[in-house]
Symmetry: C2
Subunit: 187 residues, 2 copies
DNA sequence: CAGCTCATGTAAGGCGTTACATGATTGG
DNA sequence: CCAATCATGTAACGCCTTACATGAGCTG
């Protein structure tokens, strides 16, 4: 059984406020980018699917601009559906495919020097990512009155913690490999 | 452009030793399960594809058992291909879709109590996972002479660090939510 | 000989992305 | 009026999983 998680992402966003497809896309890019993404090819068909299932409806208050834009509202049925999904346990699926780890696992096929360089680059990228996340966190903290505040903060905090852990692991791994490299040479 | 990472997983495993499709599958299940998986529907077609591209060949030393089993060896071209892939930079794709975070993000749609319960369950699952990873780590440490040893240890260590970070985040998040819950009631 | 594991595959179908197509409106 | 942005979609394709199909050998 497949999930079609796009459905729930859309439903969730519509509990915040009525939105058009285009606005949903923007919102995901601006606020959820660090843990979620949607493509047009997924989003628009899903919206029509949700309509058919009566989990969302076309909002009658038209959009601010004069353009044709379909603004959607979540229905009561949609809310129930979303809540049910949110309360479902999901087993901890071990991140099914981590390409970085796969490469590391086969490290003996390239030189230690090369491996170390890869890790250093990775660490650098992660540090940039960390800055981004912290910027999001700081921006969030400025509007602590929203009912969503606490959840959004926890969400971005998860990203921060994860990246920090990855950076630490990179640092330690680099040290380990550098030590091994020195041992190799001295022999 | 898509990657077909299965190719590289197979090539990598064949640098360790010649293997049949079935053995590759077992190996992934037994040793790489915490960061990689393959299904038959992906594995066998990929093997034939690799054959056609001359990155692997049928090994002539037949398998231990008398059954028909196609054991494969990596070719020099295959090795080059693998090494090239390993030295390629990949941009840090922010884990494109994290369902747990998506649920948390929409937390205001359900009760704090429910959210806390979800997090507690998640933490428990993560702790079990941590034990598994540590068991793998301990098993690995017993054969420290292998040339793969250092890489395999680093790989599993990455898993351990990630899970530990996630557990800590869960713990802190639970505390934060419980505090918010108390504040709600006392008002 | 029944049932297990070994062993290799195929078919169907969902998920998801990329790239393209199409227009309307707005701003310079 | 030209370009950019707003706005909605579709077509094609790749990845990946699930489920099934098939058959050989092995074990009691």
């Amino acid at each position: 059984m497949k999930k079609n998680t796009t459905k729930y992402a859309v439903l969730g966003l519509l509990t915040i406020e009525p939105l058009s497809g285009y606005e949903i896309k923007k919102m995901i890019q601006n606020s959820l980018a660090y843990f979620w993404s949607e493509s047009n090819g997924q989003l628009y068909p899903t919206l029509n699917q949700l309509l058919k299932e009566n989990w969302i409806v076309l909002s009658d208050n038209q959009s601010t601009s004069k353009k044709k834009s379909n603004r959607y509202e979540i229905t009561e049925a949609g809310r129930v559906k979303l809540q049910k999904w949110m309360c479902q346990e999901e087993e901890e699926k071990s991140i099914h495919r981590d390409e970085n780890l796969l490469k590391l696992f086969f490290g003996s096929n390239i030189s230690k020097k090369e491996c170390i360089q890869r890790l250093k680059n990775r660490k650098k990228r992660l540090q940039e990512k960390l800055k981004e996340y912290q910027a999001i966190e700081n921006k969030l903290r400025k509007d602590s009155t929203s009912p969503h505040f606490i959840y959004w903060l926890l969400t971005v905090n998860c990203g921060v913690c994860g990246v920090q852990a990855a950076i630490n692991w990179c640092r330690n791994s680099i040290i380990t490999l550098e030590k091994a490299q020195r041992d190799e040479i001295s022999k």
